[in-house]
Amino acid sequence: MSEAHVTMGAHTAAPMEAPPFAIPSKKLAMWLFVMADVMTFAACVAAYAFTRNATPDWPRPFHSVTAVAVMTVIMLTSGLTMLIALGAAKAGDKAGAFRWMMITAVAGIIFTLLHIRDWMGMIDQGVGLLHNPWGTAAFGASFYAITGFSLLHISIGTIALIIVAIRYQGGRYNADDIEIVSIFWQFVGLVWLFIVPVVYLMNQTPAAR
């Protein structure tokens, strides 16, 4: 029963049964959403993997992945700044939490811009949904489907970060809400950590021997 008091709040005096997971409902809902989202990405990656595995002449056209490396570093760093913001919020440092959240959001915006730049570069090279210079059309379609879906998540996450940060500063949200948006942000970062090897590095032109 003692866990009940951990999650019991000031809003109600109702005695409740102990939640088995002992985490606030909002956070639980975010975890459940992440689990559902994992399946959504898994379905996209499964479609890509199924097609790629079955295509004998799948191209490996990427010569330089420097931009992707930079984007990965930005994404990972934004995960760290998010955690610093969360730590500051939990310690009651409102200004610090707001500042680090905004830094995270800026990282998100830079990442989004770099991602769009990357897409523009691909489009300039003639990679479309239907055609690309290197071979099977499925390459472009699955590339844009997966990265586009991830990009959508990252842009939504960035917007969510800004909204939560502003409301946190205004006093409507608290450290718990920052923790929830942090879980989502780490999740989209994790998705990117999968996209880099699966979509970019495995399509990297191997060094000639």
Binding site: F21, I23, A42, N53, L190, V196, L201
Partner: protein, 104 residues
């Protein structure tokens, strides 16, 4: 900042550096002349290690109650495992295409 919090950030920085190193290793592997299964195995092994680090530390699953950790981990592992039924058909389609028999 108290020492306890600095300790928390220190842990995150350590995980962050680990993630950077693992990702760098992936990039190195990407430039090597490695093909097929070998490539997939290496990339996914590192990606799974990264997943563990991110989920346990960055998403703080590690500090939740064990029963919740089990709920998330078992549920996800099981459902993701059942997605792997697709492979038999993927490989069969590859065989069709390589041998030019059967529908492609």
């Amino acid at each position: 900042m108290t020492t306890a919090e600095r300790h928390g950030i220190g842990k995150y920085v350590a995980v962050y550096i680990c993630l950077l190193v693992i990702t760098a290793l992936q990039f190195v592997i990407g430039y090597q002349n490695i093909q097929g299964t070998q490539l997939v195995v290496r990339m996914l092994t590192f990606a799974i290690i990264e997943t563990l680090l991110v989920v346990l530390f960055f998403m703080n699953l590690g500090s939740e109650k064990p029963v919740f950790v089990k709920f998330v981990v078992y549920f996800m592992l099981f459902v993701l495992a059942t997605m792997n039924y697709i492979w038999t058909d993927s490989f069969r389609l590859l065989l069709f295409r390589l041998t030019k028999v059967g529908p492609s």
